[in-house]
């Protein structure tokens, strides 16, 4: 399938999914009550504000209030982008924490003379700090698919609040609420197979896969074959919506090339014979849960489960992208940082290209098109240089002023206690692979015996554990 065909496949799948979502809105929520116009003009907005206030007052009792909250939910779902922003802004601005109540509670707190009085005052202060909008958000939970409703509301809100920090309080209230509801103890880890998963669920994997695009139903089926595993976390109230999912290959030896791993024509191996589990893709599926993390649990519990099922497994590792490498390289070139390349490297580059535009310029020019990968001599010149630079990027570069690894994928796995194990030359020869990292991939090793110590070393002082191979490149 060519590039257009592939893109077409994903586009069609996404379009199909969106069609379904609209259908859901129509079906699950009674649209009759959604009397507002899509862009929520001023008079509709005023009415909405009154209805929100009425909900909060709880007129007619709790059951009625929830029913009216559901209606406010229908209104939201029927709005266009403008309307949704106005709706969210109203929630944020008009139903915030009442300052006078907080001030009074602060006074009480400061006046508390003994421990019992203080803990009572603390409780009062805590209550005063709970915004009315939070109470309203909770009532939306009674909608059919109410949890998904709130997750999607936050997904819509997040980009708005990044642009306009005054919307942060609502976003933080949502995050607070969802963090409590999506506690890992509530989530179910489920294996997804071609035989047990509905097409509707599999379609979502296609849409949500964030690392190596699923290019067709055949590609997906191949990823669910008998020597592959796919696991996802689910919330009991969103049973058909994966929250995060991981794809694993059961192989022999540490896999170094993702195209080989995804090759549908490669022979299927007996998973009972595998000694290594390669986590080659991990994708968050819900934008509205950004900042509420399950990946750490997912990897470790899947590893535990696999280790239990396949007694031959000795090694648990990822085959991961280095998504920030090329951007960092570009930026570093742009800064004109001295000594990025050694004299020997400069010389080698010059010899290889026969040009005199300066080593950095040459390197950049070379990499801008990936014909170089097919030119064996060029490739062998570039290999030691780029691997060394990648090792520098991964091991030494930190986010400005901090102890956090600059590369986000590295930061995720290091936080989990993994080790940088091996760099793979030409590990991802897709367009995206060349653009992100000149085709380089990395294995992070999850060594169950040292995970906790590695985590501590990194979490405490940003110390990164890397194999001697990788250290040797520096």
């Amino acid at each position: 399938m060519n590039v257009q065909a592939k893109a077409g496949f994903l586009d069609r799948t996404l379009r199909n999914l969106r069609k379904g979502l609209r259908g859901m809105a129509g079906a699950s929520y009674d649209a009759d009550h959604a009397s507002s116009r899509p862009d929520l003009p001023d008079d509709d907005l005023a009415r909405l504000r009154d209805q929100m206030a009425a909900c909060l007052e709880g007129k007619g009792g709790e059951v009625s209030a929830r029913t009216r909250a559901a209606r406010l939910g229908h209104v939201y779902l029927a709005l266009d982008d403008t309307g949704k922003e106005r709706y969210l802004r109203t929630l944020n601005d008009e139903f915030s924490v009442p300052t006078d109540l907080v001030d009074a509670a602060v006074s009480d707190y400061q006046a508390a003379a003994d421990p019992v009085a203080r803990s009572k005052a603390e409780a009062g202060l805590r209550e005063a700090l709970e915004s009315p909008r939070l109470k309203l958000l909770r009532q939306f939970n009674d909608l059919p698919d109410g949890v998904k409703f709130l997750v999607d509301m936050r997904a819509t809100l997040l980009p708005l609040s990044r642009k306009d920090p005054s919307l942060r309080p609502l976003e933080q209230d949502l995050k607070h609420l969802l963090s409590s509801w999506f506690d890992i103890g509530f989530l179910e880890l489920r294996r997804i197979t071609w035989d047990n998963a509905s097409a509707a669920l599999l379609e979502k994997l296609i849409a949500y896969e964030a690392v190596h695009t699923i290019e067709s139903w055949d590609d997906l089926k191949n990823r669910l074959d008998s020597d592959r595993r796919c696991f996802a976390y689910f919330h009991p109230k969103m049973p058909d919506e994966p929250l995060i999912f991981v794809e694993v290959a059961l192989v022999n030896g540490m896999a170094g090339n993702v195209q080989a791993l995804l090759d549908a024509d490669a022979p299927v191996q007996n998973p009972q014979d595998a000694d290594t589990a390669i986590f080659y893709s991990i994708s968050n599926a819900q934008k509205g849960l950004a900042g509420i993390s399950f990946g750490n649990f997912l990897i470790k519990r899947v590893a535990a489960q696999l280790s239990n099922e396949f007694k031959g497994l000795k090694t648990f590792a990822t085959l991961s992208p280095v998504p920030g490498f090329m951007n960092w390289l570009d930026a570093t070139f742009a800064e004109g940082k001295a000594k990025l390349l050694s004299a020997a490297e400069r010389k080698a580059l010059l010899a290889a290209t026969g040009e005199s535009t300066g080593a950095k310029g040459q390197l950049k020019a070379l990499l801008s098109e990936h014909a170089w990968a097919e030119n064996e001599s060029l490739s062998s010149t570039l290999k030691p240089i780029l691997l060394r630079l990648a090792a520098c990027y991964l091991v030494d570069e930190k986010r400005s002023g901090g102890v956090t690894a600059l590369d986000p994928v590295a930061h995720f796995h290091l936080t989990n206690g993994a080790v940088m194990e091996r760099l793979n030359w030409l590990g991802d020869t897709s367009d995206k692979g060349f653009q992100q990292s000149a085709g380089i991939m990395i294995n992070y090793l999850y060594d169950l015996g040292s995970i906790d110590d590695n985590h501590e070393a990194y979490a405490d002082g940003g110390r990164i554990t890397a194999s001697s191979d990788i250290r040797g490149l520096l």
Copy 2:
């Protein structure tokens, strides 16, 4: 079955259940780690405190912390009553809100100059007010049956904190957490039948039934017959533990006698012909969820579901006890309140008993044994007097200094928007019925059209809506 046999049945069922719970503790949690002695002596306690602190620091990362929290859970489960109290007291006392952090956050809050700064300071204050123990409680959620673990922990804590208010902060943290997790939107309403429910679940109904004791498996089967319904709310993480359940009889006309309703030999009627649904028992099943209420939702959603299934249903009402009537009557007699009985009533009593010990004394003496119920002339003398007194008690008596009905069952249904419809003479002729309310029962009517208004009237100013029949008794 005689009284002893009945009591024996319930006792055996409860003993069986407890045996099962101990089994669960042993099976689900790995007892090997529970190295503390049952009464948690000082050195064990000191070690425990350190382990709790380590959990909170999150050494080794989140996954490890949860694993260690699970171990702390095992420790708790293996303790005896003394040990449990010491454990809870440690959680309460040593992991409370750090005062210095709150004070600092209060200063920040008071220093905040503009809205954005203020909402940031509010967030900071909110965070400072979240106690470390709450974080620890959340981690217990990762235990198998972790939610039930916390519910039961609060059940153990509640009586302790009533005696010693210094334990309230922990109890309130638990309540706060459980309120969020037991949001009505997460609960599932399920019909329970003889065919779909496991014996293990049904056994819990027997144990938890709080209004009219289930006396045998035959009695239970009768309550699940084709003209009966039983519904319960469940939480997804406690799938075999009812939270609250209601028993309903589908009958013709308003039922007035609970023994007739529960008679296993009464003919089964076709539920399609019923015009009235009688809610004759509603029981909370989890002591640890006290103060987190679902009863309102349960009644209204069951009514909606029944109304959908049985088109002939016109009336939804309860057949309820009047649990506080006799206690109130005794107390009122004791106070020597004048004019409790009218002159005519006094005369009637005197005529009936032929004694001269004073009407009140006579009434009390009469009621103390319920032979009177079988003495027709005595019974007909007492009927108008007791019905009038019951109406006074229900309609006019409020909790001290307030607008809340004194009778707790009345308060529950009035808050839900129900109406006092009818008093039933000799409605409950069991021992308990005579002791609580001289055998009188009441129907609360749920009239779907006026529920919201009734709720408002009562919630706003304590106005009680009663039928003209009942008003006529006053």
Copy 3:
């Protein structure tokens, strides 16, 4: 619980079940069409016969014919015993194999000249031999619960056909049909637990248990405890009806006393520590499946499953009754068979009782009341005598003129390839135990390595394998 109470429990359970069955009839089948009178008088019968004939002609096509067959099923269900017998007799007599068709097919068969012609003629003959009533029976399968309908029809028919052999053809047609539908490959082996089974299903275990009466729900719960197992076979179209079930105790050492095994107050042991699985009860649950046997499969597959789950299990054996022993002893006494007792045994009996009525008479008298079991000296006199007699009965007695063990339970386990392992003195001290076998029980051992050889030895020539202990008694 005393004897009356126990009997009352079983009676109530059976009554409850029957009530349910009537309900099912009413609910599942539309009773409106059941226009016949319950005793099916002549004119109703004539109409019925015509309707059966119409069904067979298939007027209006197959779908309509099935619908009409369902109506004939409703008619049957609404009949009383007399009506049912008349209905069955009509099916048997009026819809038998048409003689002329068979005769013609026989002629064709005899005229067939070559193999191809012969196999065609065989097919023709086979078809001619299929009775119209069989076709009609098959159509009843389309009733809701149609399979159960046919099973119950055969249960009703079996005693009638035993009395009147002219009803055998219908009975055999039913057996033929059910044998095909109840092929072991279609059945599902399911473990039944207190947690996974509905009360409705468990109630059936109580009603169907044929070996050691289940005396209460507590008794049942004890039999489903963590060191016990209960397995049953189910048919996919009768998901809530066990076909046959077995109860197993996981213990240490060969159990020899059933009261000890069923003692609810005995401590529960960790099943992981058990070395022996004792099959102490196996009951057929469907009278209508008499002669269609699953017991062999049930025991062996349960043994395989347990052996897989509990690695410590070394021994699989039964603790079985010897149901025919006392009857055989009585009959043998009555025959006056010489040398039943040895001289030494006679002397011992005489010494023990001090009477001179002759040893046999004494033995019989002694055993007729089981006070002897509590008289230690008497008991120790009787023990060697009765054990020897039981061994004789079990090992040497055959059904008249054959090679089949006289004791039916022995025959069942020997056919399965089991070995007679041990006799247990006072193994069953219930009334039934004393009446059937003077309290003696036997362990049949399933030694997986020799099952096939044992089966062959017994199936081929009636050779019974018994342990040296038992052989030593002879």
Copy 4:
């Protein structure tokens, strides 16, 4: 998607399915025992024959025999085509009905003097006629997926037995067995949706669809949209294998064009507003069940279910191909049958084409390429001629010497009691549509009130009910 792409899609899906089936063979059956070589040479065959004989003798008891039968099943699965044919031939030839037993049973039958003796003799004869191979086939049912095993065995056997009638007895034994096991009463009618069906099941719909090829997963999703329905029958032991399935469109008015019906870009309509259910595709999915028919039940039960769900549905009809029309036309031309075309029709054709090769030749030439469909004047000339010829073909043509409609689809629906309602000009403009029927399609109407009468009229004497519109064409 172009033609190649479409074909590629179906090919890939089929290849994927086959890969899966091989996987299943490997996974479900223990391949270790499959010691025979794939082509089953003579010595392997001799060994196999002995093993089959041993299985039938039942050495070691029933359970062991089944285990050995399972091994024989593994052997079969590992064979190639040659080996399979040799295996089947052995089953057929060496385990047939023993002639001597049948002859003896025939003698007994002929000697039977009275009814009871006769029915006993009938039973004996019936038993003698049951071939040993049938007993063996039944034992295969104990394989995992044993039912599917036998269905697939018959699928392999059917083409062989068509070529070589000596294999018919085995084929007929299989048919007999499967007919009993696939009784309609055992089958489950299930709705298949995008949300409830696994990808593995949906993939089978793609592979098995026999009328209008499913061209992609998008096409499939469109056929499962909210205004579509897909229902299939399933057997409890083949839960993921549809036996037969039907696709239905809920529309307004009688649909006449299948491309319009399958257009993914057509707006989705609210199914509650539909007045007509169009059955536009019905496919048998299991070749091994040929001759065991469920289609009649499927259509009528789906109609009943839809009619129950959608109160607005008034009309149930098919949109069906006329698969034999063009073949019949060709054959009829070839025969040179006089008066196939009227003088007026000949003249019209001549005028339209301006050629003089004779009307029949012209017609044939015209139709051989379907450019004519885009030529409006040509198309309007052809329309009345072809519609008339199609009506003749459908209504008047019978299978040689019989009363059965020549067109197989017509025969199926007429047997079900449907009526020929309307011919649709350019109803199927796919290549297949033009090739089979010059693009003509037909609606068969299922009028619930007259189905039985129509069935009788057709089944009794081949009388075809057609609408006045269609009759008017003749």
